[in-house]
Amino acid sequence: MSDHDVRQQNEARSLLNRRDFLRNATALAGIGLLAACAPAGQPDAESGSAAPAVSTGKKQQVRYLSWWFDEGNRGETWLNFVTEFNESQTEIEVVPENIPFDQYTTKTIVGAQSGQLDGDIIMATPELAPRLIQADLLVPLDDVLTRNNITDLSSAHDALRKEGNLYGLDMVTVAFGILYNQQRYEEANITPAKTPDEWVEVSAALTNRDEQKYGFFATHLVSEASDFWFQLEEWCMPYDGIWAEGKTPLLTSDPIIKGLKLFKQMYDVAMPQGADNPTGYRLFQTGAVAQGLYVSAAVGAFTKDAPELYPLLRSAPIPWESNKSIARIHPMMINKDSSVIEEALEFVTYMYKPDNYRRMVEGCQDVIFAQPSAARQEYLDNLEWLKPGFSGVEYVTPFDIVGDFVFNFNEFGQIVITNFADVLNAGKSVEDAMEVAQKQAEELAERIS
């Protein structure tokens, strides 16, 4: 073979390789492009809702999204129920997935906007629920009540209905109350306050900043936006106010201004200023903070997180005339686009059997029963911290206090907290800050109307 022949062969091989390479690369890129541009394999909602899962010998997985699987005894209780359910099933497996609370709403709303909710079973906050119902993203759950013969469902569920259908079932209602460390009260020889002014006095008396002792803690950092608004929403209660009525924000109304001034007073005289939420929680566990506005659902967590503190916990009576406080309903819902709707319904039905529901509420140490007939008086009597702060209180819901902003609760709350932070840190008056907030909230109302 001559040099020329060898060279020609090499050239041919080289050209062939390059051509092959280019052809293959183009083909791969084309396939990739087609795959990227092709519509996502969205499950057919109709067939999904109609057809039960086909038995293939492998269990159908149901993804259950919530923020509470690592929350002390609540997480433990739910994980136990999931295991119990899975063991009783041959074809269904519920898979719990935890998402931190601070990210939960954002993740869900953004998921909804992208056209499909994530997960099959979804827990919702009182503010997220109406948003999802309004956007037609859920499956009606009336069948669960029928299957379990439930006839005494709490009226709080009225807000979860649309065109006669029920779209959510409450799994925990949390109520705000003042929880205090009995030992700290006794050391300072203090009795619970009966008015907002007395409450400030009591909190100040429990505070000694040099010894790192504080009378009260509430989240107050804008870097913890969800927690800050979650707690601040209660501060319309002391003077019997509401944050908004319909589409009209009431941020400059007298009860709101007075309520926020009360928060500022407490911040000045009794709070560990600048402490973030985990620090505040830790300070309460160690007894350095004497009291806080806690939701009933958080109390059970202390049995695990702070077993020495738990026996010392007591609740104070609501120190304002109206005796009103906020109760927040957290419904379980099913994604309309799920491919395992029947399986998901099976789990919700299981959890809402009156006996299971009661065991779940007691396991989480909750105190408000969505099925009143499921409550056991003996259980409630054993909770020393229950009375008087979490019993006999007149409860209102977020739907009652933020009007139509319940559909845009987070945006509304963000306006309030960012402006109120100017009061806490920049020396602005409550009136001036809320005047700005009022205008921003009015703009929000205009934008969302």
Binding site: E11, R18, L22, A25, T26, A29, G32, L33, A36, T106, I109, V110, A112, Q113, R131, L132, Q134, A135, D136, L137, R209, Q212, L221, V222, S223, E224, A225, P272, Q273, G274, A275, D276, T279, L283, N408, N410, E411, Q414, I415, T418, A421, D422, L424, N425, A426, K428, L444, R447, I448
Partner: protein, 316 residues
């Protein structure tokens, strides 16, 4: 020799197959085919989202709503330019960026000069110098949150040594202090990278220049200003641009430590964009803010290209 001659002869005289129309076409198309994958990548994952973002800034989008996006023209931009909060955010962004550039590069230059001198355990010290840069941002934030805690923070012990300080300062609750700490922490995190790059530039300066200058009687300050700085000038210019870009897009440290507060004192444009999109769910306005941020980044990049072009011209 004959082989070489033959080879050069072959190279200089293309054979028939290389001059055929098919071969010419192939040669013409080859560069395009080679850049195709990167063009596809850039197009799908960078240009398309940017274009979508720009389009989104001309619409009104309500998250989790059944309503489709509505075309609103320049409304979002009109709102942005008439919003005093936007101008405050731009001011805060520029202030933060400028301060980080000054602090991080000054410390980077100082440590590079220090590490350019021989001393015992220099390799170990150099390794330790890189630690702040190597640690991920989230643990850094957690460490500094504890250091600055008004209740437990160790920095309070030092603060209390100062005259007139009787209470633990609210490090992240006072606007001026919060901004100061954001600049310090961001600079602390970034300076090792700048230091390393400057050190490499310093080591490329010929020692003869210093020796000649010393013979001519130059003092250390004159050596620094007349030899060192001009020799690393190009590197410093590049680092200024890089530092501007890095600090402009700083998100994790600010967001996790202050969330843009207190009172918006540390709210840079990226924090504002995030808050607008994912706290206020005002998605279309957030895209308009994003476009504004994009334009500012383009200006910085353009400035860098201009600077490079000028240098090339000078060199020519």
């Amino acid at each position: 020799m004959s082989e070489l001659a033959g080879a050069s002869g072959r190279a200089g005289r293309p054979n028939q197959s290389e001059t055929s129309p098919r071969a010419r076409r192939r040669r013409y198309l080859l560069p395009f085919a080679l850049v195709l994958p990167i063009v596809l990548y850039e197009g799908l994952l960078i240009v398309y989202p940017i274009a979508q973002g720009i389009y989104g800034s001309f619409t009104r989008i309500e998250l989790a709503s059944k309503n489709p996006p509505v075309w609103v023209g320049w409304d979002n931009y009109e709102r942005m330019f008439s919003d005093p909060a936007f101008w405050k955010v731009i001011q805060t962004t520029l202030l933060f960026t400028a301060l980080v550039i000054v602090v991080a590069l000054s410390v980077g230059l100082f440590t590079a000069l220090l590490f350019n001198r021989p001393f015992h355990f220099r390799p170990v010290a150099r390794g330790m110098l890189m630690m702040p840069w190597a640690i991920p941002e989230v643990p850094v934030v957690m460490i500094f949150i504890w250091i600055l805690s008004p209740q437990f923070g160790v920095v309070n012990i030092l603060a209390r040594l100062l005259p007139g300080v009787t209470q633990n300062p609210q490090w992240l609750q006072v606007p001026e202090l919060a901004m100061g700490w954001m600049v310090l922490i961001s600079s602390w995190k970034a300076f090792p990278f700048y230091s390393l790059v400057i050190l490499a530039a310093l080591q490329a300066i010929p020692q003869e220049l210093y020796e000649a200058a010393k013979v001519d009687g130059a003092n250390p300050l004159q050596l620094f200003w007349r030899i060192t700085i001009p020799s690393i000038g190009t590197t410093l210019e590049l680092l200024v641009v890089l530092a501007a870009i890095f600090s402009f897009k700083q998100f994790t440290i600010i967001f996790l430590m202050t969330g843009g507060g207190p009172s918006g004192a540390t709210e840079t444009i990226v924090i504002r964009i995030f808050n607008t999109a994912f706290r206020f769910y005002d998605y279309s306005y957030a895209t308009a803010l994003g476009v504004a941020g994009f334009v500012v980044s383009l200006v910085v990049a353009f400035f860098f290209i201009l600077m490079q072009a000028r240098r090339t011209q000078e060199a020519a």
